[in-house]
Amino acid sequence: MDLSLIWAMLLALAVFLYVVMDGFDLGVGILFPAIRGAEDRDLIVNTVAPVWDGNETWLILGGGGLLAVFPLAYAVIMPALYMPVIIMLLALVFRGVSFEMRFRAETVWGRRAWNRGFWLGSTVAALCQGIMLGAFVQGIRVEGRAYAGGWWDWLSPFSVMTGVALVAGYGLLGACWIVWKTEGELQDQARRLARILGYATLGFIGAVSLAMLFLQPAFVERWFGFPHVLVVWVVPLLVLLLARRMFRALSEAHDGPWWRDALPFACALGLFGLSYLGLGISLWPFAVPPSVTIWDAAAPEASQAFLLAGAVVLLPLILGYTAYAYWVFRGKVRAGEGYH
């Protein structure tokens, strides 16, 4: 059995779960300047308060898992992305503490400061994650078993573009989440925001895809080579179909069954899923593009097997009780019922 292959799939899943789950709660923070009423702000923070900690745990699994099963990738990527990783961590520190602090600020000044912290922390974390993604995709220089580049290599027009793209994408997820969890005027506002961010996200998906073709010849072969060209083109096609459905759902009347309000969020998740799949197709089978494959980066087989034995039992369990926690807090969140 190819343990590296199984682990690559599992970690890819963990990272994807992180991206969409922390994506929407970071997105809620990103939207702060657009949602202006103090009451509304409390409300949207309350929609994510019970779940954000669990969402962020997937990031820890991403890091810890990479260390455990593809240590070489971990040992190369982290120094290569030193600055964006550290800034992202600091931004998450800021944001995590702002969560609690903004509710308890006793002065107008304090409240304003922690609101800014919450917005800035969310936005910078998203930006850094996007930059990390871009820097990863454009390739990392490796010699022997170590990173061989400088400490600014991660910065390029491409990585900045992916950074901004992810901010827009998380904003979209956040807006769709708000559409789902709130009602009335706030919901209308979120619908408008989601539409704008939807166009932006779509534009960025296109721009990043095009830019990638110029980044490496291998990517061109991946997408246009015969015979897989016949299959892989389903991905962009589905993107367009889903986007259309999302925009329709966003402008539909409000009085449908409950899942109607969840539909934009589901479509946005789909868009993320497809983009992620597209990236996967481009990068496969590299753990550190363009030179280290998942097999090069693999931990000793005994380590991969030992952790896998637990993971096959624990991951379904985790998904189960995570779903339960979401279920407990299901439904619309209303003003004055802050369960924060």
């Binding site: 202006r36 103090a38 409390d42 019970p50 779940v51 900690d53 669990g54 962020e56 820890i60 890091g63 810890g64 260390l67 455990a68 240590p71 971990y74 040992a75 190369v76 982290m78 120094p79 600055m83 990783v85 550290i86 800034i87 600091l90 998450l92 520190v93 800021f94 995590g96 503490v97 969560f99 609690e100 602090m101 509710f103 308890r104 006793e106 107008v108 409240r111 609101n115 170590a146 990173y147 400088g150 400490w151 931990a299 000793p300 005994a302 380590s303 952790l307 637990g310 624990l314 991951l315 985790i318 009780y321 995570t322 926690a325 407990v328 807090f329 019922e337 802050g338 369960y339 924060h340």
Partner: protein, 477 residues
């Protein structure tokens, strides 16, 4: 280290020490607090006495803040192995990686998954289920301690591995890796430390409100009494556990123990117990030494004739790099530990005399000792980790060979950023904790209840916010 500019290695070490000490302040408190909350809720369910529910809710608000800071500072730690210690990560991932992986899978998800229900779920789920959620969070914190301490202990007493030709540690025997020789001692000593830390804080808060209410506050009475029982039992246990821990360390890391004890020359028997001194690393001897003859052998060897190794027996490259730091941190920890025993006994005395709730010197002492657990824990870790130097994996992998290929300016910049953000953010968080401590607990304590109209949506229903007109903030604030 005479040169003016610190090297990338020094900076990375300092950064790790800075961030991990900050991190550990929070779990040291929340591990104990989570268990305390579970006990309070359990007592409430069994006895149906409202005072336990009041206390549960009061401490739950504290827990929410402290836990959040623990989580975000911990997130930083899990990435630092890669950003600053990438060679260490590459070499040791085979053995340490799965341990950290299991910590995430068994502990962190459990805590995070049930935290939301624990904090906000009363009224949304039944009492039994809510208690289960609290129990899961408490159990999760202990599991977390289990795995991370196993990983840390392996770095002190590596076992169960083989070395690959390129210097990586390959796992051979998982049982031996997890239950490596120093792990049981470290786990017991650290978990007790966490319980002590919490008991001291709970006791200090209880004493504070007893003083302020002239002994009338019913919730503060229960708090204080519970904390004093806990201290009475656990503080002496900690001294015993520490003693065994030291014996075990003497077996596996004699140079560390020699530094802790301030011994430079070998003693065949009747080694003195050095109380105070300034260990001079250049001259390889102690200055200003105050020592009790013979007692050292008795404590470390449990016999007057026990033999004790001295630092001079180790080549300079094998000794802890900062002997005074190890030496003095050890004294801080042990000194505070003994004071905790005193506090526990004093509490018992007051209780027997029926004066436990009459504000007096005992209560002032308890307030003063509130932070001593955190200080002792930090001092203990400095003993442990600075005493492990110059190795990351004791005897096998040197700290100098573990560090990432990152330029010094980059590490300096990140260290400065950590310092600024941590002091700012955690400083504010700790200030908030103090404000929560200062609010007197009372009957019908409000908690995170969804059925009450909590307008500000904080766990605190913060009428103060409304009073100050924050509700009517202009748009955009």
């Amino acid at each position: 280290m005479m040169d003016a500019l610190p090297s990338a290695l020094d900076l990375a070490r300092f950064q790790f020490a800075f961030t991990v000490v900050w991190h550990f302040l929070f779990p040291a408190f929340t591990i104990g607090l989570a268990s305390y909350l579970a006990v309070l809720e359990g007592l409430w369910l069994v006895t149906k006495r409202d005072v336990f529910l009041d206390l549960f809710r009061w401490w739950l608000r504290v827990f929410a803040v402290a836990f959040a800071m623990g989580v975000v500072s911990g997130l930083v730690m899990s990435y630092q192995f890669g950003t600053n210690w990438s060679v260490f990560a590459d070499r040791t991932a085979g053995t340490l990686g799965p341990l950290l992986g299991y910590e995430v899978l068994t502990a962190f998800f459990l805590e995070a998954g049930f935290l939301g229900v624990m904090l906000f779920g009363m009224g949304r789920v039944g009492k039994g289920l809510h208690f289960l959620a609290t129990g899961c969070v408490a159990f999760g914190t202990l599991l977390s301690a289990f795995w991370i301490l196993s990983a840390n202990s392996w770095m002190h007493t590596p076992a169960g591995y083989a070395l690959s030709p390129d210097g990586r540690f390959l796992p051979e025997d998982w049982w031996a890796i997890i239950f490596n020789p120093s792990f049981p001692y470290r786990l017991v000593h650290t978990v007790i430390a966490a319980y002590l830390t919490t008991a001291l804080i709970v006791g200090a808060v209880g004493a504070f409100h007893l003083i302020r209410s002239a002994g009338a506050n019913a919730q503060a009475r229960v708090m204080f009494s519970m904390a004093m029982w806990m201290l009475l039992v656990v503080a002496p246990l900690q001294v015993v556990a520490g003693d065994f821990h030291g014996l075990n360390t003497k077996e596996h890391q004699p140079a560390k123990v020699a530094a802790m004890e301030g011994h430079w020359v070998e003693r065949r028997s009747h080694a003195p117990l050095v109380l105070f001194a300034w260990p001079d690393q250049q001259a390889e001897e102690n200055r200003y030494e105050v020592a009790i003859p013979g007692l050292g052998s008795l404590i470390l060897g449990h016999s007057w004739d026990a033999e004790i190794e001295g630092l001079r027996a180790f080549p300079p490259g094998e000794r802890p790099t900062n002997v005074p730091l190890v030496f003095w941190s050890f004294r801080v920890m042990v000194g505070l530990g003994l004071l905790m025993v005193v506090l526990g006994l004093w509490g018992l005395l007051a209780r027997l005399r029926g004066r436990l709730y009459e504000p007096g010197w005992l209560h002032r002492f308890a307030v003063g000792m509130g932070g001593s657990g955190l200080v002792a824990v930090t001092a203990g870790w400095i003993v442990t980790e600075a005493g492990r130097q110059p190795y990351t994996v004791y005897g096998m992998l040197r700290t100098a060979d573990s560090v990432s290929p990152i330029a010094a300016p980059a590490v300096a910049a990140s260290l400065a950023a950590f310092a600024v953000v941590y002091f700012l953010v955690f400083g504010a968080g700790i200030w908030l904790l103090f404000r929560l401590f200062a609010q007197p607990p009372h009957a019908d304590q409000e908690g995170p209840r969804p059925d009450t109209p909590i307008r500000s949506a904080g766990i605190t229903p913060a009428p103060s916010l409304r009073d100050r007109g924050i509700r009517d903030l202009p748009a955009g604030e």
